[in-house]
Subunit: 144 residues, 2 copies
Amino acid sequence: MDQVKLFNEYLNQQGLKNTSQRMVILEAFLASDSHLSTEELYLQLRADHPKIGYATVHRTLKLFAECGIAAERNFGDGQTRFEPVHGEEHHDHLICTKCGLIIEFEEPQIEKLQESVAAAHHFTIKNHRLELYGLCAACAADGQ
Amino acid sequence: MDQVKLFNEYLNQQGLKNTSQRMVILEAFLASDSHLSTEELYLQLRADHPKIGYATVHRTLKLFAECGIAAERNFGDGQTRFEPVHGEEHHDHLICTKCGLIIEFEEPQIEKLQESVAAAHHFTIKNHRLELYGLCAACAADGQ
DNA sequence: AAGAAATTGAAAACGATTTTCAGAAACTAG
DNA sequence: CTAGTTTCTGAAAATCGTTTTCAATTTCTT
């Protein structure tokens, strides 16, 4: 896992310490389905590591976001979600409002158009979010 | 104001009552700059209507959203914002992360591409959000 | 192995939002 | 137009997710 190395480097760089909790949380985070909330990861971890507290999970996820191995997302359900960042590629999301399914996609043409919109308004884009909400194939088929 | 009529119809339809507070809040909401949070609208109203409580403002904004004359927005600053919905046209936002400036834009080509992405994943889009975060011209010019 | 510094977990604090509740106002119906 | 029913209001309290506090513990020097 390259992410583990990255995280350890970040810890050193910042004068932070490498603790067993942080390693456990990092591994669980990388291994898990993405788009986890603090709550979800905390509950998942509790099975094997009942001693790890909610605050530690939360602080560690924030650390991941800080050092760039996680991205914070907010899909409007009132919870902040975190997903592992693997490479450089940006992606956006399709979200099923019925079953909660989240699909990631990339569409370079949309990114290009965003740049031209920004340019027209003399804006410099630092980042963006694009989320498409609706029904996935299964839910659309299923009554409604 | 057509919005006023719409709102009154909605109230009747739902067996809700038309109160003076609701009318005052609706007028202030429609007249104001858009993208107001509950807090902001509440403070603004307090000047002329010191008796109107925060809870009432909040409940009324939710009502607006319910009946379609307002849209809820969340730009990641931890506050829910509401903007008047005037017609059918959808728009997206450019947000300056330095000064908070919000610019609205429309880009039909992006919408089209979204549809094709959704189709590729057998998704039915109900709505979407696209937000471009960065620096406006003034803030970009201004040091950083 | 000892000391300085950072981390942990539990609980408390926080900020935004939502709910509660008793009194007030709005809409029936008579 | 008045009584009765229902909804609404405002203040305060409750809630929810998130963040901070603090004493005890652990990590990482040296």
